[in-house]
Symmetry: C2
Subunit: 342 residues, 2 copies
């Protein structure tokens, strides 16, 4: 590995001159800069980021912690984060937590040990106090979910409002037996989405059938299994809302398995606007769309601010909520019994 000393020796100058030339800092002649840069280029010099990190106390690493990189939300997030890092000269360290607080903590420890410049995190439901404590020393933003113990700005959506609108839409179509697939109570987002669902009924003087609420880990398999039982009931739900991206996959799996090639006799609302949803049954799946890219970009902008202005984050954590929107395609219609009645 070629170091600045090698370049300095080759050029007959001192290492400090080489450093200054490469950094382009003040008090160095243009001619020296040119000579040093050319020599560095020719010798294939690559700066040792470890040495730089040691001296400066910070590295060019940004940590991104997500529960699942195959989830379309988090894949989009990773793309935005990767692009942003690329543009700003950072490297992205990807940590997949699988929603395990323990894995999350080990990743955060590693990030802290690497003196990473900043962290973007989708916290797990049961995030540990130790993890929060470790993150307190680093510029941090949280996305989608919000952990109470984490004093970091949050960027997400108004989950309650999203499900209030979605459930309301189905209620106004005439549905009453509306199944809900939702994550478990340890997630603030799941609680808010559940509340939105309940409140939509309440706003119309109704009450949801709590048997139709399937709460569990936000995984496709979870949603799929819970839903199959519901669909096989004597009186099945007339509509289903999935309140999570993975749960939407589970919903579509279960519905496909139950109806086969028949057109599903149940209205569906998905969560998130993955490309694949456009193809559902030829007409597309109606969904609750989240502006994930905008969220990630806002979080990144805030993180950059925190990095460049250290100590400015001492004020209490801010929360930025984006609005979701309904993308109406063909998967939600009035219920069959009402059609008969009308």
């Amino acid at each position: 590995m070629v170091t600045i000393k090698d370049i300095a020796r080759e050029l007959g100058v001192s290492p400090s001159t080489v450093t200054r030339a490469l950094a382009g800092s003040s008090r160095i002649s243009a001619e020296t800069i040119r000579r040093v840069r050319q020599q560095a280029e020719q010798m294939g010099y690559v700066a040792d980021s470890a040495a730089r990190a040691m001296r400066s106390g910070t590295s060019a690493l940004i940590g991104l912690l997500v529960p699942d990189i195959q989830n379309s939300f988090y894949a989009t997030m990773a793309r935005i984060a990767a692009q942003s890092c690329q543009r700003a000269g950072y490297q992205l360290v990807l940590s997949v937590t699988e929603d395990h607080p323990q894995i999350e903590e080990s990743h955060v420890r590693a990030l802290i040990g690497a003196r990473c410049a900043g962290v973007m995190v989708v916290p797990t439901g049961g995030i540990r106090p130790a993890t929060c404590h470790l993150l307190a020393g680093v510029p941090t933003v949280q996305m989608i979910r919000r952990a109470e113990g984490l004093r970091a700005d949050g960027f997400g959506v108004n989950d309650r409002k999203a499900l209030l609108a979605a459930t309301g839409y189905l209620l106004d179509l005439g549905h009453r037996r509306i199944a809900l697939l939702v994550g478990d109570k340890s997630l603030d987002t799941a609680r808010a989405r559940f509340n939105g669902y309940v409140d939509a009924f309440a706003a119309r003087g109704l009450q949801p059938d709590i048997d139709l609420v399937c709460a569990g880990a936000p995984r496709a398999s979870q949603g799929s299994e819970a839903l199959r039982a519901l669909l096989s009931r004597r009186v099945p739900p007339t509509a289903i809302v999935a309140a999570g991206a993975a749960l939407t996959e589970g919903m579509l799996d279960a519905v496909s398995a139950h109806y086969g090639s028949r057109y599903p006799a149940v209205s569906l609302l998905g969560f998130g606007d993955t490309a694949a949803f456009r193809w559902w049954q030829g007409e597309g799946l109606s969904t609750i769309a989240l502006p994930i890219a905008a969220i990630a970009e806002a979080a990144w902008a805030r993180l950059q601010g925190l990095i460049s202005a250290p100590g400015a984050a001492t004020s209490s954590a801010a929360v930025v909520s984006f609005d979701t929107s309904m993308v109406l395609r063909g998967s939600a219609r009035p219920p069959a019994d009402q059609t008969r009645a009308g």
Copy 2:
């Protein structure tokens, strides 16, 4: 930040004792190890990986370079890589190249500068010699694609055979006007897939209509645009094969746009076995399935070998090819004109 010196001072021992105790190396008493570990725990010590990297000359970072993290192939790859790194005590640095050799090179430079322990790369079509040269000094494995200039073991599929089988399947169903969506010639995979397509015709004494081959950047939009023109022809293709994951998305977009809610009058074969393909038109999309997880795992195993046995990679690069399989669902049927004839 608490360092080993702090722990040493607190305990009245020397820093080297602390290091050895934490490393659990030889010539250290069990009692000392216990005391040091407890003190470190209590003081919240986290090892500075920069200092460690500087001393040891290598870091615990693994670079993963993929063209597009939203592509289901690469998302799966990232999941496997992340899990593997997690288990082995490494951190994963995600680099999204967007298929630009320039971005690829800048990421590789950064990885080299970070003295990363190993690199897993899906090379761009036009990978630069400088990039290959940089990677020559680090344990490297390449996945899916193979760059000629890169002396690194490759893990991928038999692309020619995959399209030979897929095209042959459609030919045997009676199709003759089979459109092909494929990446551009700079990609070795695209060339091999194209060859498989041509060879399937040749093996039956036939010749493909070259007008039906759409070659371009492996992006959804690319496949979609090229295909729309074909579908609007007076004599459209009776079947379409997409030879790429993103191109498959493009294919489904174009077909959805052209047929709307009507059932598509064209047979389809996708590439890769994304969850979403199961839901296509209720019956599912027939696809060419790639064992991406197995590929990523094999590549990781090889990379670990290279890392632990330095210098063992001096022999010429090996190539490991996995076989693809056809997943037959409902999207490929005999052509309509033959149905009328029969």
